[in-house]
């Protein structure tokens, strides 16, 4: 007798049937071919003719596979009440729970809408605030090796200014005497009246040391930075402008380098345009000129108006830098007892300076929106508890069909996670709007304010918050629903199960609105 099984198996292989089911079908079809083969032999056919006659039955193997797929695969996809014992993979269970959860949510739109809106507001607010926290507090400053950038202050604690802006002469001494910094640059406020072909415009800018841009590690987008010669009195009639000003006032003129600008009635030559998104110290500054101290200014210890930024040498810690500055400050105290008595020097990380004022406010805000999300979770958990109460019959049927407690918890948690995912998705859209709103409230001196945006980290944060939210508000109702006494519920019989003894206990936790929202229109149905 020919072995038909391999032939049949080959033709059915792409159906990917469950192995036991496939074996049954192959055995049955092989027997059919055996019978046909034997009948042909009895009818006088040779073995070869009988074999060919039997194999003719499989010529329409495409039809066989197609028909079997329709029967077998369709049967596999039929929806059964979750909880019925049936061998399925974890993924299969999850997919089934997901579809069932979607249908349950769709059947009770009032509940779903209220829960999703509550979660979307909570998650959206968290994502929006986190996007600011992420950009301002967590993201490194947009300069080269930003951890090595420090601010250096005069320490006039006795006079009430523990972080005072230094005088030029002190800056010059610090710069020349320190052993710990690779470079040090001074910055002074300045405003410019820009006149010329267009309307006159008042523009904020800074006088800066020539080495500021190399010290930050930022190259101009066009042209060059200042040279040391330009940082000398008389040689400082050059200007670097921001990308924004170049676009706005000069229409992104590619021939801007070398052109003359009239600023405060004097002529300056444009030598560079900084890259897009470059902001220093704040995003309001659009023009930089060399600070070019005069000899008189460089010797002045009475006017405290500079900001000093420095880059530590590789491997130098904040403490080492501070110790070195303490030595210099002590030396200056002795050297200039009139002006520098009890005047110290303080080194702080640039990042701390940039976010210093806003950090507590942001953290408080993050805490507040976190609390809002907790309240939203509590409300949704209440709604879910109410819903679990009116779904007791459904749970009873599932338990009767053999659903385990873990299986019920998984189903309820899947529904919770589904709600959280919907809330998270809509919340993310809300946070897009929220981020734009928040930008308006961030102080201008926070240089990264305009860079606040949703990025991968915010997306990850939203996903994690959504999942945790789903677990948080879903776990209690899932445990409650699965902690189930079949006999008790069955005794309560045809009555509305929410009015049973468990319903009474749960009712205490809920308000009327919550119960009415949670009540499905056709409660108690297991399979729709």
């Amino acid at each position: 007798m020919p072995d038909w099984k391999e032939e049949i198996r080959r033709r059915l292989s792409r159906l990917r049937l469950q192995p036991t089911r496939e074996a049954e079908i192959i055995e049955e079809l092989a027997q059919h071919l055996d019978d046909l083969y034997e009948e042909s032999l009895r009818g006088g056919a040779t073995k070869d003719e009988a074999r060919r006659a039997a194999l003719l039955e499989l010529t329409e193997s495409d039809l066989l596979a197609q028909e079997l797929r329709r029967v077998e695969c369709h049967a596999r996809q039929e929806l059964v009440a979750p909880g019925a014992r049936r061998s399925m993979s974890v993924l299969g269970d999850f997919w089934q729970d997901l579809r069932y959860g979607l249908r349950m949510l769709a059947k009770n739109p009032d509940f779903t809408i209220v829960a999703v809106i509550a979660l979307a507001l909570g998650i959206g607010a968290n994502s929006a605030i986190f996007s600011v926290v992420n950009t301002v507090l967590l993201r490194p400053l947009p300069y080269k090796d930003p951890d090595r950038l420090m601010m250096v202050w005069e320490d006039d604690t006795k006079g009430g200014f523990p972080r005072d802006t230094p005088a030029a002469a002190n800056y010059v001494d610090w710069r020349d005497q320190n052993q710990v910094f690779e470079g040090m640059a001074a910055i002074a406020d300045e405003s410019f009246n820009l006149t010329g072909a267009d309307e006159p415009e008042r523009i904020d800018g800074r006088r800066v040391s020539a080495n500021l841009f190399p010290l930050l590690g930022v190259e101009p987008f066009r042209g060059r930075a200042f040279t040391p010669e330009e940082d000398q009195p008389g040689g400082n009639r050059v200007v670097v402008m921001s990308y924004g000003l170049w676009q706005r006032r000069f229409g992104s003129d590619t021939k801007i380098i070398g052109q003359s600008l009239t600023m405060n009635g004097e002529s300056f030559t444009v030598v560079g345009v900084m890259p897009p998104r470059f902001q220093f110290p704040s995003h309001g500054d659009e023009l930089w000129v060399p600070i070019a101290f005069s000899s008189q200014e460089a010797a002045n210890r009475g006017r405290h108006y500079l900001e000093v930024i420095a880059r530590t040498k590789p491997g130098v810690t904040l403490q080492q830098a501070q110790a070195d500055m303490n030595i210099i400050a002590a030396r200056l105290q002795q050297q200039y007892p009139d002006s520098s008595t009890e005047l110290g020097a303080t080194v702080t990380p640039l990042h701390e300076h940039v976010v210093g004022d806003i950090k507590p406010a942001l953290l408080v805000l993050l805490g507040a929106v976190g609390f809002v999300l907790l309240v939203a979770c509590a409300n949704v958990a209440n709604l879910l508890l109410a819903r679990a109460a009116v779904r007791q019959k459904e749970i009873a049927v599932r338990v009767a069909l053999g659903a385990s407690r873990s299986r019920l918890i998984r189903q309820f948690l899947t529904e919770s996670l589904l709600l959280a995912a919907l809330g998270g998705g809509i919340g993310l859209l809300l946070s897009l709007w929220g981020v734009n709103l928040l930008k308006a409230f961030i102080p201008k001196n926070i240089s990264q304010a305009q860079a606040v945006a949703l990025d991968g980290r915010v997306l990850g944060f939203t996903i994690v918050v959504s999942l945790l939210t789903g677990l948080f508000f879903g776990l209690a109702p899932a445990m409650q629903a699965s902690n189930f006494n079949l006999n008790e519920t069955l005794k309560e019989g045809g009555r509305d199960s929410a009015t049973g003894s468990r319903g009474h206990r749960i009712r205490g936790l809920l308000d009327h609105r919550g119960r009415s929202l949670a009540r499905p229109s056709d409660r108690g149905r297991v399979i729709d």
Binding site: I25, L29, Q31, H32, E57
Partner: protein, 117 residues
């Protein structure tokens, strides 16, 4: 009679009547697939024939619907075979299908003037 017309009619009739044929054949006693296929061919005097590709998927579909039930049976001296029997649900369906089929045939006869045997 044009070939195409008879071909389509043949296919449609087979499709419409196949379930009724199978349910009828397992009404009195359980039968295995080859037996069912052979009986259809014999009793229709060769006019109707199901091959493997059409017979077994149909059997499985009827089984999924709960109209027939298959069971592996081992008889002495024989290989085990899968026998199909009519379920109570299948019995109800068979009664309904017989009735509607009879009405259909009578209606066609009245229109075409073909006497039925």
């Amino acid at each position: 009679m044009p070939y195409i017309g008879s071909h389509i009619l043949d296919r449609e009739l087979k499709k419409g009547s196949a379930e009724l044929l199978i349910l009828s054949l397992v009404e009195d006693q359980p039968r295995h697939g080859y037996d069912i296929g052979s009986l259809i061919e014999q009793r229709s005097r060769g006019a109707l024939r199901f091959n493997v590709a059409s017979l077994y998927p149909l059997l499985y579909r009827l089984e999924k619907r709960g109209w027939i039930q298959g069971r592996w049976v081992e008889k002495a001296g024989q290989r085990r075979r899968r026998y199909y029997r009519l379920t109570p649900e299948g019995k109800k369906i068979l009664v309904a299908q017989r009735s509607s089929w009879r009405e259909f045939v009578e209606a066609v006869s009245r229109i075409t003037g073909i006497e039925h045997a």
